[in-house]
Symmetry: C2
Subunit: 129 residues, 2 copies
DNA sequence: AGATGGCACTTACCAATAGTTAGTGTCGAG
DNA sequence: CTCGACACTAACTATTGGTAAGTGCCATCT
């Protein structure tokens, strides 16, 4: 057996989010970047058109949304389907991998949403000093 | 029964990460911001000193790490304990809430770490166009 | 019928944000 | 006796992100 061939089977041990050069770190940064997480969360509720996403994710500029969606598509987390019609119609949806990620983000969002009173208290305490 | 009184009991329904003005949105952005998530991930492995975190999270500047940790402390996700000695010694650790969040982030990181081959493939495909 | 707004973007410009470098004061190691 | 570690902060600069406007076509409102 080729020794080079034998390296393949355990790729999960070599990927590390903490490593600057690792793909997982880059993907993690893409996923957790300001608008990506919100976009993934929105797509977790079902496919959306560009304008729908723009309205759902309060505060995104069109520029940043387009940029964000391109990055997520590149990482294979979402699909983009352009109907090619006029007026234009483009639908975005999660891939299976994207769905996993979105589920994780939903979990995080749930934790934080229900912790709002606790967080507000902590902030008040902190700001009092 | 006072109609105003009846609104109180379900605070989980009023917090929404998508709402720009909601505390949960702000906290979510703090948690998912570039260095926070990595810092929380590191603290998920146990308490760390400032310098330890700096080394663990490859690429953070001292400035950004200090800023990040202050934000997380303010939100009640981590604690900061200054021994007051010289040379200085400051330990950071997760609060129970922070631990919940860190666990969620760990899940995300695990998904992405094991999806590295898939992501690499998706990127190659995308870039080929 | 002419103006308005939605569609999914892109481009140019400028403000805000993040990274880089240098400094603080004390101590232990070489 | 100079160097580095420690946990930061302050000043400067590079990069990023938000704002505003433009694209071309169509449907609706007036």
């Amino acid at each position: 057996m080729d020794p080079l061939e034998a390296v393949g089977p355990a790729p999960d041990l070599v990927s590390d989010v903490f490593a600057r050069a690792c793909t997982s770190r880059a993907a993690f940064e893409d996923v957790t970047s300001r608008w990506s997480s919100l976009a993934l969360l929105a797509l977790g509720e079902g496919p959306h058109r560009f304008g729908e996403l723009r309205r759902r994710v309060e505060g995104v500029s069109e520029r940043m949304l387009a940029q964000t969606l391109r990055a997520l598509e590149r990482d294979g987390l979402i699909t983009r389907s352009d109907a090619g019609t006029i007026p234009p119609r483009v639908d975005y949806a999660l891939t299976p991998l994207g769905a996993q990620v979105a589920a994780g983000l939903r979990g995080l969002a749930d934790v934080l949403e229900s912790a709002v009173p606790e967080i507000d208290r902590a902030r008040l305490d902190y700001d009092a000093r």
